[in-house]
């Protein structure tokens, strides 16, 4: 008996120390990896797509269930005395600025509520230039550019791209894009040996007609994209990038893979596999779409213009081929007007 109790008294602290050491080692490894990535980026080295075993393993995990469990856990009301400690610890871990929170920390009942906190009034001045498009979120700009050529592909990382129509939906009002840039197109029209498909305009939908200057045969409007990543410590509300009429909302159910840098390099078609809400409409220059893509920890998307929308719902079977659930906002063709800087949506925990 004496030997057994001596064994137990060693086992518990021993296991605790071993766990702490293991977690410490994993964290150190992660910091090292992050540093390497930052160094590569500083040298201008493009990160390439490289699927790994961990990414394949992630597909086996019930990430949606884990996400909802995380949501329930973080939605639990905390005792008032404990709230500042928990939120300060979160802020320290994920580099949030607590000075920006609209309310005193004690007034956020749960971590989930704290996570979607509003900011103090006028902390984010909105650029008032009518010809500018503003960032809808706080985050890191991952990619941006002009969409060109068949498929209008958006690069996830070097060596892995996804089509804008698979991101926004096959029924999207996405306008036509030119094959090649404007000058290449003019050259192509003179060069009869080139493939006819290369010099033609392609379409996903005719909802937005192409606009061209007849004199120069050069298109007047291009189609652009911008991808912004939100870290866990960032402000997680989404605002309107311009004055626009939101005409359609599409909700795609899907996986809830993590969306961090490593995941973008190892999980193919990450942006079109994850659950997302797409808003489509018109602004002064034409077509505008905004896709809010969920992740494991931030699985649900709340729309302020449609509070009844529920995302990250339990499902018996996840079918990727399932068409998105779509809603056309009334009045048809006018939809819901949102001004630049207006709140549109929020990412919720779980």
């Amino acid at each position: 008996n004496g030997g057994s109790s001596r064994g137990n008294s060693f086992l518990v602290p021993g296991a605790t120390v071993a766990t702490i050491l293991m977690l410490g080692a994993l964290h150190a490894r992660r910091l090292y990896d992050d540093k390497k990535i930052e160094e590569s980026r500083a040298k201008g080295i493009e990160l390439e797509f490289h699927p790994d075993v961990k990414a394949r393993f992630l597909r086996l995990l019930p990430l949606r269930t884990i996400s909802r469990f995380w949501g329930s856990l973080t939605g639990m009301e905390l005792p008032i005395w404990l709230r500042p400690y928990v939120y300060k610890a979160w802020a320290r871990a994920f580099h949030s600025n607590l000075e920006e929170a609209e309310l005193p920390l004690e007034e956020y009942a749960s971590l989930r509520e704290f996570f979607v906190r509003k900011l103090k009034e006028s902390l984010r001045p909105i650029d008032s230039d009518p010809y500018c498009l503003v960032s809808p979120v706080d985050g890191t700009v991952l990619r941006f550019g002009e969409l060109r050529g068949p498929g209008a592909m958006i690069e996830q990382v070097k060596g892995c791209s996804y089509s804008s129509s698979s991101l926004l939906g096959e029924n999207s009002y996405l306008p036509m894009v030119a094959a090649g840039d404007a000058n290449e197109e003019s050259d192509a029209e003179e060069n009869t040996t080139r493939d006819a498909t290369q010099k033609s305009w392609w379409r996903i939908s005719l909802a937005s007609p192409k606009v061209r200057d007849n004199a120069s045969s050069r298109p007047l409007k291009g189609l652009f994209y911008c991808v912004i990543y939100l870290k866990p410590g960032d402000y997680h509300r989404i605002h309107s990038p311009v004055d626009w009429n939101i005409l359609v909302r599409r909700h795609f159910t899907g996986h809830l893979f993590p969306m961090n840098e490593r995941a973008t390099r190892t999980i193919r078609n990450l942006y079109v596999e994850n659950e997302r809400v797409v808003l489509e409409g018109q602004w002064r220059e034409g077509y505008m779409a905004m896709a809010a893509i969920g992740a494991t920890n931030i699985g649900s998307i709340e729309l302020f213009i449609e509070p009844t929308l529920r995302t990250n719902n339990p499902q018996k079977k996840l079918l990727q081929s399932e068409p998105p659930e779509e809603r056309v906002y009334e009045p048809k063709g006018v939809g819901v007007l949102r001004k630049k800087g207006d709140e549109v949506a929020a990412f919720n925990m779980g």
């Binding site: 002009e146 404007a182 291009g222 652009f224 077509y287 505008m288 896709a291 800087g341």
Partner: protein, 35 residues
């Protein structure tokens, strides 16, 4: 979580849309993405 914007903007010589940030930049809500 991630937000992707897809939008039309002018590309004619007289008024060409240009992004005003770099890849990897931190951006805040309300700051100009492009003009």
């Amino acid at each position: 979580s991630t937000v992707v914007l897809v939008f039309q903007a002018p590309i004619s010589e007289s008024s060409e849309f240009r992004f005003c940030m770099k890849k990897g930049d931190r951006i805040r809500m309300g700051e100009a993405l492009g003009r």
